[in-house]
């Protein structure tokens, strides 16, 4: 029996503001435990929250980028429960009047365009972090994270497959990166994701919903959904009912597991936060932020295809990260040819980043370096192979490739006389190969070209070399 999966995603995004949502403490990741705290985010007796307006603006920026309708009034609520990582015994969040509602995100799944609804976006403060010592009968709490601004983005249950969920996350991350509101790093916890899934027979009512938590990567999101579909389908086929519950993803066993039942009932006793005064969101605030929105991935994709004639696939890869798209456009503006540039970025640059596990935003690469590099290849000054090495050196030494070429006399040898002499030397030295070639072995020619490259320390232009040898040997 094939069931239709109904999937929704809930993303918690840490905003990369200088300070926390309700106090002036830093939000920088990785500080020593409890070194980024103050009486306010520790929930000491007598303290009061003060709203971080940068977080407010970035929340609006995100909401507008996702096509949402903003609330009229900005209001906070207390969400109450007891846990050691929650200093006040309540989280300042938003309940009935979230910052924004009714937005959407367009994604492309295997050539098919799909519009995924965004139910709501709201601001709330993050909790601290618990560290459990398996040897000891106690646990530790680190409050550095307590009070960090979070944006919760809830999608409509419009997703219909694990692949769609994956694409949604990629596109959402790209948009968020473009807005530069977060580091969007699932490993460092600045982007967290829970998912909801139920199965139904097409056309029928919604089935029981299962929530999945403890997902550490986009791949895990996809894998957990694949597993859940299989698990639930099996149960439904056997005539069993699906329990509406929360399950945890076990990355090791690659299965979801029932969460141990929480002793506390989930009545959060929401009520309006009396320490923060609600205020009207002024239209001019909205306008000011709307005019400052950068071109978003979808727009950039269109531009790359229309203006530079790139393929849809190329445009997709290049716009995955704002930095790549920016590099591309800046380099083209300085004279680089679009297609070779696109290929170089998608090929060499991404390979460089992947090998080192780096993000595009983390590497310093000036557009003129790419321009100079590609010019040199085009003019034949250097070979493709030399260019690859040069590229790496350029980044690591933080120096223009043109300068490196000058410094190390890397110029390819293109002078016919020199190459002619070189060819003669190699032919003289490797008679056997010469005979092999004359007998019909094409590989032998390549061998001889290789030897020329060796002798010239890689400086001989291989294309010319091949031509010269061929001429001499026929």
């Amino acid at each position: 029996m094939t069931y239709e999966p109904v999937i929704g995603l809930e993303v918690h995004l840490q905003l990369n503001t200088d300070s926390k949502l309700f106090c002036g403490c830093s939000t920088t990741f990785g500080a020593a435990p409890n070194h980024q705290t103050c009486p306010v985010c520790l929930g000491l007796p007598g303290v009061l929250p003060v709203f971080n307006h940068r977080a407010f603006e970035w929340g609006i920026k995100t909401a507008l980028a996702l096509d949402c309708t903003l609330a009229q009034v900005m209001k906070f609520d207390r969400k109450q429960y007891f846990y050691p990582d929650l200093p006040k015994g309540y989280q300042i969040s938003q309940y009935d009047q979230p910052l924004a509602q009714a937005g959407c995100l367009d994604i492309d799944v295997a050539g098919q365009a799909r519009r995924i609804g965004i139910t709501r976006i709201h601001l709330e403060e993050d909790a601290g972090k618990l560290l459990h010592d398996p040897q000891a009968p106690w646990s530790y709490v680190d409050f550095n994270r307590a009070g960090v601004p979070l944006l919760e983005i809830v999608s409509e249950p419009d997703l219909r497959s694990p692949d769609e969920a994956y694409e949604y996350l990629l596109e959402l991350k790209a948009v968020l990166e473009y807005l530069d509101v977060s580091t969007c790093d699932m490993e460092k916890g600045s982007l967290r994701c829970d998912t909801n899934i139920s199965l139904r027979k097409p056309g029928e009512a919604l089935g029981a919903r299962v929530e999945i938590k403890n997902l550490n990567s986009f791949k895990a999101v996809k894998a957990s959904l694949v597993y859940e579909i299989m698990r639930q389908a099996k149960q439904l086929d056997a005539g069993e009912r699906i329990a509406q519950e929360t399950r945890l993803w076990n990355a090791k066993s690659e299965q979801t597991e029932t969460m141990r039942s929480k002793e506390e009932a989930s009545d959060y006793r929401y009520f309006p936060e009396p320490d923060l005064v609600p205020f009207t969101i002024q239209p001019r605030v909205r306008e000011a932020i709307a005019t400052q929105l950068p071109p978003l991935p979808a727009q950039r994709r269109m531009r790359l295809v229309d203006t530079y004639g790139l393929s849809a696939y190329d445009a997709q890869v290049l716009t995955q990260h704002r930095r790549l798209a920016e590099l591309f456009e800046e380099a083209v503006a300085q004279g680089a040819k679009p297609k070779p540039l696109a290929n170089w970025i998608m090929g060499e640059l991404l390979a460089y980043l992947n090998a080192r596990g780096q993000e595009p935003s983390g590497v310093t690469l000036r557009p003129e370096w790419l321009v100079h590099l590609l010019e040199a290849i085009d003019a034949g000054t250097i070979s493709g192979k030399m260019a690859k090495e040069l590229f790496v050196e350029s980044i690591e030494r933080q120096v223009d490739p043109a300068q490196v070429i000058r410094e190390s006399n890397l110029r390819q040898i293109v002078d016919d006389e020199q190459l002619d002499r070189l060819a003669d030397e190699v032919i003289a030295g490797f008679q056997k190969s010469v005979e092999d070639y004359r007998k019909g072995k094409a590989n032998a020619l390549m061998f001889l070209v290789g030897k020329c490259m060796e002798r010239s320390n890689g400086k001989a232009n291989p294309t010319q070399m091949t031509g010269i040898l061929k001429r001499k040997l026929t």
Partner: protein
Amino acid sequence: MDRLCTRTIHELRSLMDQGACDPQALLEELLEQIERLNPTLHAYITVDAERLRQRLEQRLRQGPRGKLFGIPITVKDNLCVQGEETTCASRILRNFRPPYTASAVERLCQAGAIIVPRANMDEFAFGSSTESSAYGVTRNPWDLERVPGGSSGGSACAVAADAAIAALGTDTGGSIRQPAAFCGVVGLKPTYGRVSRYGLIAFASSLDCIGPITKDVHDCALLLSVLAGYDPKDSTCAPVEVPDYVAAMQQPVQGLRFGVPNEYLIEAGIEPDVKAALEESCRALEQLGMQRVSVSLPHTSSAVATYYVVATAEASSNLARYDGVRYGARAATDGGSLLDMYQRTRADGFGTEAKRRIILGTYVLSRGYYDAYYLKGLKVRTLIKRDFDEALTHCDVLICPTSPTAAFRIGEKLDDPLQMYLSDIFTISANLAGIPALSMPCGLTTKGLPIGMQLMAGPFREETLLQAAYAYEQATEWHRRKPDLRPQTSDFRTGKEVGGVTDV
């Protein structure tokens, strides 16, 4: 010459400026008074005389100098003072020493005052008698068998007994005004948002106010002018200009209108002495040139219920942080679970009234009951506020008794919490409406107990309150009456009942 500790701030300032009084002599006298009286009155939970002397020395050396230079001001145990044990008179905050000072207290320091901490109070400000303190009961200096009122009982008692020059109290439902009335001193609850709440250990966030408890109206105006003003650390603090309260106080009251709410007059529980004192006071106000009008506050009968729904809801939330994780007391549970730790810590740490209010507040906010109680409470609150908006278009101040009775006996109301709650009937509405209200002495009962008169005015109209209060005070001189604390006629070491009242 009168002893220095019996003086007011303005008198002492004048003496100091003339060089006729030295701050160290003042502190010594005050410490002596405290040492003599506190064992019986228990106005202070603890007093560290040495530390106070050091503080004064430092202040004299380094300043800052201001209106309150060298003046000791007593502070209630729910106002954070850096490095001082601040417990809200609760076991659960045993040994808690805040790493920072409340903004209002900081303002006193910036004006040159010396802070005298730990005036006793009802635990977490839950109460009208100071009987629920985990550190002992405070006694009324006018009659040691009676309560000083609450929750700022320690502050009011100390001021009345000259064991404080002046004090800070806090008021959520009457906790400055009612003890001021019971102890025969002046107490002001400013407009909500007039004084910063940062550093005030919260009871009910939308109701709590910090305010002065003083020997006369002039001191009240003086302290208010130091306390009031915008603080960026408190989002509910209003960026409204602070007028010259002392100057405003002295404005003539000719032509000001005062209203006595009809619904308050017919309140069944008002003691005859209190009623008589109020009528007498109204006549005095008319003689000063003020005009009496009739006003109505139609939703008066809903006020107490509304208050106890809204305030306890906020309190249950504000007290959730006392869980033993980061500060204060934590119960030892010998390897029990997290839930064990929470339950034991809070069961051991909170007193009965605190538990009662937490449970009530939790209930009121819980799923299925929120709409019927909390939401409804907020709506009725709006109606109550509108009552005051309307009434204050017909008059400049509202006048009524602060409390239906004078001070009751210790233990008298403990068995019936509702009885205790109902005694807040006249004070509670000012907190719900957010308006300023002042209590001042206006008479004595036949038993010689102080009676308080309450004045209320519109938001940020403290000047009008002080103006009317000052005129009344200067004409009637009730503020000169003091309890008899002489060693010969009252044995303060054994706590025997005092006979009668004397003009000192």
